[in-house]
């Protein structure tokens, strides 16, 4: 599977490079503790501007899922599962990602999943395994 690599920018590379050591890091406001995904330089809750990437457990649950049948990307032959994964650290902290490591039709809402990474260019793409 050949994924499209995301651009690495000052705003986002802390997220995309995080998986190099197998740990998922999410931007977090140092003033109020709110986690932001996608990462932004200002906290929408307290407007704090000290935002740093901090490790999370990598545990999440499937919020919604779909078996994609359409070849959006020539490097990613369908079918594959796309899902909104809610990270356990904060209600509503959601990543759009893929579910791997199980048959597509076995994915369920509420299923616990754990992060793993697949490399694309210089980025480490966080995907989730049952």
């Amino acid at each position: 599977m050949e994924r499209t690599a995301p651009p690495l920018t000052e705003r986002t590379e802390g997220f995309w490079r995080s998986g190099a050591d197998g740990v998922l890091r999410i931007a977090r406001c140092q003033a109020c503790g709110w986690r932001l995904q996608p990462p932004r330089p200002v906290c929408p809750k307290c407007r704090g501007m000290d935002i740093r990437f901090e490790p999370v457990s990598g545990d999440g649950v499937v919020h919604a899922w779909t078996i994609n049948r359409y070849a959006w990307n020539p490097g990613m032959p369908p079918p594959y599962v796309l899902a909104h994964v809610e990270l356990v650290e904060q209600p509503g902290l959601m990543l759009l990602s893929n579910i791997i490591g199980c048959a597509p039709e076995d994915v369920r809402v509420g299923m616990p999943v754990h992060v793993t990474f697949e490399q694309a260019g210089e980025a480490w793409i966080p995907v989730f395994s049952a």
Binding site: P7, A64, T66, Y70, L96, A123
Partner: protein, 380 residues
Amino acid sequence: MIENPMLEKKVVISGVGRSDMGRRLRRDPWLLTAQAALAAIADAGLTPEDIDGLSTYPGASWSTPGITGAGVDDVKALLGIKTRWHTGGGELPGQLGSIVNATLAVAGGLCEHVLCFRTVWESTAQEQIGSRSETLRSVTTVREFDQWTKPFGAGYSTFGALTMQRYMHESGSTREQLAQIALTARANAASNPAAVYRSPMTMDDYMGARMISDPLCLYDCDTPMDGSVAIVISRADSARIDRKRAISFQAIGSATGLEASAEMMWGRTDLKPADVDLAELYDGFSILAVRWMEALSLCPRNEGGRFIEGGSRIAIGGELPISTGGGQLSGGRMHGYGALHQACRQLRGEAEGVQIEPRPQVAVVSSGAESFSSCLLLSR
């Protein structure tokens, strides 16, 4: 709560028009735009010289190929229109945000007659470039949003599918129930000569259709087409327009999100959901029509599947007709403007073949999905 200055009473829809419409017309999108614009202007009883404002979505600046066939400057040059005010852009509250903008400009006294337009030529653009996915890949503008979707192989249908899957999980509704959005649209399209798909569709057709992104099947996705729709927004007290044919705004909702837009709209009127005779709901994916139905309190939350089951309630002649021209699923993707055009025709009693009897008094029209949303409550 913001005091309602009754913006809605100061403006009307004075004219509507559309171009030739269909799959792969292979026509210059500027020509389609001019057809729709001149039809709408004439329908309002005006001439191009009367038009002093222009408004469109998404404008000529950003698009996948074919998603926008003309911008504001194009139409000024095409029709020799001299404006006192204009706007065009994508960062609006839904596609009908371009209508909302026009109401503000007219009510605020910047201009008197705004021509609003929406032109698509996606099916021809896709044919020229190749396959649909090739069309989408040819987009050169990388939006901030794309970096969070492309590495995972997500596309537009992903979001319709995730919305539908989560909705089915929360509400317990079934594909057989939700199929009625597509089946109703197709049944109504049969009587609309401008609709893209008019051949009959059965429940078996729907259930047997290929999956695009489970549980979203082919018939849950709207269809690209070529065409243009134009709407003229005028001062309600303009001496030039035909007041008997004008459509009134009862309320506008332009807040972020379906529920917030709906709440805002109902907060600006004494009318209630039970007063709605017709709902032309945004159906870029069929589930969005269900989501809008619930957001607008036209049925209870999570009851949409059971409400539309069997289809009789939402058919022409039912208590809440929807997609009376075929919607975007069967009529074609006019991005909210098709729904608005159809609602105006129904309110005027001019929807030949699919006219609701007795003629509807109140219609709601919605556009967009998620945080990109707006809705209009209209009356004749």
